[in-house]
Symmetry: C2
Subunit: 349 residues, 2 copies
Amino acid sequence: MSEHPTIALDAMGGDHAPAMVVEGAELARQRFPGVHFLLFGAEDRLRPLLAKLPDLAAVTTVRHTDEVVTADAKPAQALRTGHNTSMRLAIDAVHDGEADGVVSAGNTGALMAIAKFVLRTLPGIDRPAIATFFPTLRGESVMLDLGANVECDSNNLIQFAVMGEVFARTVLGLTQPTIGLLNVGAEELKGHDALRDAAMVLRNTKLPIKFRGFVEGDDIAKGTVDVIVTDGFTGNVALKTLEGTAQLIAVFLHETFRSSPMAKLGYLLARPALAKLRNRMDPRRYNGATFVGLNGIAVKSHGGTDPVGFANAIGVAVDMIKNGFNDKIKAEFGRLGAEQQFDSLAAAL
Amino acid sequence: MSEHPTIALDAMGGDHAPAMVVEGAELARQRFPGVHFLLFGAEDRLRPLLAKLPDLAAVTTVRHTDEVVTADAKPAQALRTGHNTSMRLAIDAVHDGEADGVVSAGNTGALMAIAKFVLRTLPGIDRPAIATFFPTLRGESVMLDLGANVECDSNNLIQFAVMGEVFARTVLGLTQPTIGLLNVGAEELKGHDALRDAAMVLRNTKLPIKFRGFVEGDDIAKGTVDVIVTDGFTGNVALKTLEGTAQLIAVFLHETFRSSPMAKLGYLLARPALAKLRNRMDPRRYNGATFVGLNGIAVKSHGGTDPVGFANAIGVAVDMIKNGFNDKIKAEFGRLGAEQQFDSLAAAL
């Protein structure tokens, strides 16, 4: 809830760390005055970078460690043996109350495993999920889970729906976000049992959420709903399919504009407009997958991102902290828990 | 295997039937000389359409029926009560040996249910799948299952892999198609048990197939492999996500080219090149989802397609018939069956 949050940064995670992390922090500092940084990593590499950015250095505390979680480390191994890695220490800082949130561009599996172990889940939440947002025909939508849970039961999906709704309000600033469950058809009888059971509960809940029923794969880019709820397997495949298709068309367009002198000239004339489109779909704008459901804010940046993308991932953490994401989650789950107690009481009578 | 196949057409299926079906058949007739058609539907509507197309009429036999499967009919109901519908009679014609394959733009669920019931699965195949192909960075790829089976075990996935490989050879004309299992990561330990078990069998099979292991969502559009194997839930979501994303970008581009006078001029200059790109990605080129694994060729056309799209769906059926799709499937499954027998013998010793 802090207006001047402290963000713990894993300075050594990501393909271009630590320079990318420090430069990203500088961009975030300019955008969010009052934010402080705790920077975990090799001091001898971080000091020269900070020396060039005195305004950043003034709001940053460096915590030295030589150890890192490598990109190919197994999550279980990183959890067991990586107690002094930059990633682990940055997460510990959130647990210990020294930081309000953590951002890392390192190994996703390790980050998830360590964050889950150190921060634990919020009351009422069985499993955390990975959420992100992306551009659609109608604006921006959130999707979760993107890979934390390969298999999900109906309770997991219901919890993801509630967390996704809070995410859409907190990070996207929507007032009445709509929710859909990803399925293979809009009819009530389609899909797995877990989906049908979750839909039944969400249709009948007294929580003030706008559940729109089932949506299909093509509804993702259409923006038919603001929050798309799915299991981690399907969500991961769907998001990567979306990204891959966008890249395919970008390559096809590139070839098209080089295919003749007229096309090249046409491209030159349309270039300013096309640059705006490129900016609208810039993956760096949508960098920052969030682990939701943990007792602490943890955001994963793309490993290959640049300072602009990393600053956006920090921005997601700052939005969540300033808008009280976890307090809102707790309030919703308090209501959901009371409702479920009431239901089981009613069922028992 | 016939060089002069007979195709049974459900003349009443699809949003623009029967005119769209008859005009599509005419385009297919021009493209595939020697093909005959059995046209099932309302004679009073079909005769006037055929009267305008004497060359088509010369190779077409009309079989009158007044009954149709409606777009909103439940599959079980269509199967139970629709014995004289144009869809059912067209499928019966394949079963009875009067036609070599059937094409319908009608109700997908009903078509699947009726085709499965009437034609039965080929020996060695537990469940049929829906397959289609689409444009990628490297050419064209096949994906299956696209929705026939919401849940799949490892045997289903192995069978889909073998059928997809034959499809890529038969319809796309590839000589050594590569196969990948869709997963959330390329590492061996990722994903469901069914995926890991299927991967293990496909890695060790003596069948002459090129199995490349796991692929991810972004590999679909990249064309990393020629055949993408997945369960019907994931495949349906992935294909629709791909289509939805392509449509989103088309809308964004349309807006971009109208956003300024310069952009408009640029569009006019690049228009011939962009038209080629549009043609390359034209959904009508990729019309025709095939039910593979049945004892007969059955192709589903998009319900909203036009004659060009419907002719392409007929083309898929013709390719499969002329190239002996089902004979090749039977040969592969004969080998697979022998291998499995050998394996269980070895395990028993």
